[in-house]
């Protein structure tokens, strides 16, 4: 059924939009950003900030673009004298009590109040002789601070807690110029998704304690990534400064996480910067490990694999990329492979009730579905019992917690590929240092079988390299494949050879990913 379209003109641009669209959304399509604070695409319209006032021809008063739906033949003037003057007045009201402490405010640089005042606000105040309202900083919850002075009362946080988190903890207390965001006297803002109010806040009023004073917005480089916290696969941005991941923010993807990520994912970035990494390929000489260059290490690994016959065991991490998992499997061509992984599970999902299908999942790994699709099974403990009989054991970035060094010491041919070196893996014949998720490109398959790309955000430490590079070089040494120039080379071969991934291409995945076709999953399950 064709949607009914409405024709209108915004700032001289004629366009047709579906009936029921708001002027603000229609203007976005016309390439015009109407300044707004309280409006957010994921929240119900409140119309309280009055910032999106625009002139609509043949209406006596200015209209708020966020709550006015388009009408056939409408002519909207966003930057007419009247509407600009109205918005300038709104900004003047907002700034009456705003402390203008941008130098010490974490939001400075990504603050919508800053942006719009710079764009359309007055250059000077007319209220210099009046003191500003002052309220002390409040501690709202485990990761959220509230600075009432900076608040412009857009109520995005209130509406998020009410309609998305469905836990009414916040409200607007008091009235008029004394109004502020109040918290329930007996409750704290400790909902597992509460951290999103920090992102939603257009000003620096709600702050993340984790990020407090850590970096200025303009120092950050943003890289598209995928959350590794659980199997939901929320899209994220990794914010890096000086080669350190300092913040994780949600990246909008209406098909997965909309505009949100949970606090578990938001706060799990410290491990990406950990310093105790393997920084060079290591070979065992007796009981000593010697650092060597990549050529030597890969040659040795290829020799070991060539000399193996019989059964092989691969212990992989469900946090490894699809490319790495596939390449590891390929190492065992000609050997009987037992591919196993284990997933950390935490009882109980933490859903975001307002967004169906979005939750912090029990399975706390980003690529367990990908591992299953490639034939790995969740039989880590069983597989571990068989390693002694295996001619070749490859461990891919499993931390080997709970695995004793003695068990692995009896393995004749152990190759450890990983980011950090657990004690249990010290007996490995070859140790290959890998990049972690923030340091490489790759893909994950989330629980809904959506294949999503993530990108490199920081440099690898030392000589560590992405798994797709290491393993494809190794396979080239074994004459079983070509060395990959980029992660996409590997993915495109997977798409060609694996029926489950047929029809996909790395380039076409884009920033939003693609869902695997149904028949493919049926085939994989069979």
């Amino acid at each position: 059924m064709a949607e009914e379209l409405v024709k209108l003109t915004i700032e001289g641009v004629e366009l047709s939009v579906p009936k029921g669209t708001t002027i603000l959304e229609a203007a976005k399509q016309a390439g015009v950003l109407i300044p707004h604070y309280c409006y957010h695409p994921a929240l119900p319209v409140a119309g309280v900030c009055r910032m999106c006032l625009v002139e609509v021809e043949k209406t006596p008063k200015l209209q708020i673009a966020c709550a006015t739906t388009v009408v056939e033949g409408q002519v909207v003037k966003v930057f007419s004298d009247q509407s600009v003057k109205a918005r300038e007045s709104v900004l003047e009201f907002l700034l009456i009590n705003h402390p203008l402490d941008c130098p010490i405010c974490d939001q400075a640089g990504e603050c919508e109040l800053q942006d719009y005042v710079f764009q359309e606000g007055r250059a000077r105040t007319r209220y210099s002789e009046f003191p500003k309202r002052f309220n002390p900083v409040e501690d709202f919850g485990p990761d959220v601070l509230y600075v009432p002075n900076r608040c412009i009362l857009c109520t995005r946080c209130v509406r998020f807690m009410e309609h998305a988190a469905e836990e009414e903890v916040l409200n607007v207390s008091e009235r008029g110029d004394r109004a502020f965001i109040g918290i329930h006297p007996d409750k704290r803002l400790d909902h597992p998704w509460a951290g999103n109010v920090v992102d939603l806040c257009p000003v620096g009023s709600l702050l993340s304690k984790d990020f407090l004073h850590r970096a200025r917005a303009w120092e950050l480089d943003k890289t598209a990534s995928v959350c590794t916290g659980c199997s939901q696969g929320c899209n994220t941005n990794l914010d890096t400064r000086n080669n350190m991941v300092v913040r994780i923010q949600p990246r909008a993807n209406t098909d997965v996480n909309r505009y949100f990520i949970c606090d578990h994912g938001r706060l799990s970035h410290r491990w990406m910067n950990r310093g105790d990494r393997i920084e060079a390929p290591l070979l065992s000489h007796g009981h000593e490990l010697t650092a060597v260059d990549w050529d030597h290490a890969l040659d040795r690994a290829a020799q070991i694999i060539k000399g193996c016959s019989g059964k092989g065991v691969a212990l992989v991490s469900p946090g490894a990329s699809l490319e790495a998992l596939w390449l590891v499997r390929k190492l065992f061509t000609g050997l009987g492979l037992t591919g196993a992984f284990r997933v950390e599970r935490v009882k109980g999902e933490s859903p975001l009730p307002g967004v169906p299908g979005l939750a912090l999942r029990e399975e706390r790994a980003p690529n367990a579905t990908g591992a299953r699709l490639l034939g790995y099974t969740e039989t880590f403990d069983e597989a571990l019992k068989t390693v002694e009989d295996a001619s070749l054991v490859v461990v891919l970035d499993d931390a080997l917690t709970g695995v004793s060094a003695e068990t692995l010491a009896r393995v004749p041919n152990l190759i450890y590929c990983g980011t950090v070196l657990p004690d249990a893996a010290r007996g490995a014949r070859v140790i290959l240092p890998l990049a972690n998720v923030a340091e490489e490109d790759g893909t994950f398959v989330n629980r809904d079988r959506r294949v999503q790309r993530y990108f490199q955000a920081r440099a690898t430490p030392g000589m560590a390299r992405p798994a797709w590079w290491v393993l494809s070089e190794l396979l080239q040494g074994l004459d079983r494949g070509e060395s990959a120039g980029v992660a996409g080379d590997v993915f495109d071969v997977i798409a060609k050879t694996e029926p489950a991934f047929a029809g996909l291409s790395y380039g076409a995945l884009g920033a939003k990913g693609a869902v695997l076709p149904d028949q493919a999953t049926a085939g994989a399950r069979a």
Partner: protein, 168 residues
């Protein structure tokens, strides 16, 4: 094989240095009777007709508040604007929850004394100074930390004012 060297015989008045010496000394001694234009530096650092400009941009000084703490709020604008990348800043939070610089260091060797840091500072904390005597025994001493920047006492530079380009 010897190289053929051509010997030039010049007349004595061209070869003698005596004339040139007398001429040079005459110029030298004539200066004894002219007005003095030099200054007895370092005993004397300014003269009635010459003082250092108040727009001189020399080594930095951090201004302090009444309690003697630096006025810096660690906003990060000076390291951002610095074209020489000579300012190191690590922000922190004090007991009262105020933002302040945990580490604030300026490498005066790297500094190009452009004065942008002073211009950009929203708190009027960091300044370039009217100061030019910077001898040290050690190169490391030229990385000024916050304490040293606060301890400087020299006058701070007046920035160029576009509405008053000649500083009148």
């Amino acid at each position: 094989m010897t190289i053929g060297v051509k010997t030039v015989h010049r007349p004595d008045h061209e070869v003698s240095y005596l004339r040139a010496t007398v001429k040079g000394m005459a110029l030298t001694f004539s200066h004894l009777f002219r007005p003095k234009v030099t200054m007895q530096y370092p005993e004397q650092t300014s003269a009635p007709d010459w003082t250092i400009s108040n727009r001189w941009r020399g080594t930095h000084r951090m201004l302090t508040d009444e309690q003697g703490r630096s006025k810096c709020v660690a906003c990060g604008l000076c390291p951002q604007i610095c074209p020489a990348n000579c300012i190191k800043l690590v922000p922190g939070e004090d007991e009262e929850g105020n933002r302040y610089p945990l580490i604030y260091e300026i490498d005066e060797f790297r500094c190009v004394f452009c004065g942008y840091c002073q211009e950009v500072c929203p708190e009027e904390a960091i300044h370039v100074g009217v100061h030019y005597e910077n001898a040290e025994y050690d190169r490391d001493r030229f990385v000024y930390d916050l304490e040293r920047l606060c301890a400087q006492t020299h006058p701070v530079s007046t920035l160029w004012d576009p509405s008053d380009p000649k500083g009148e």
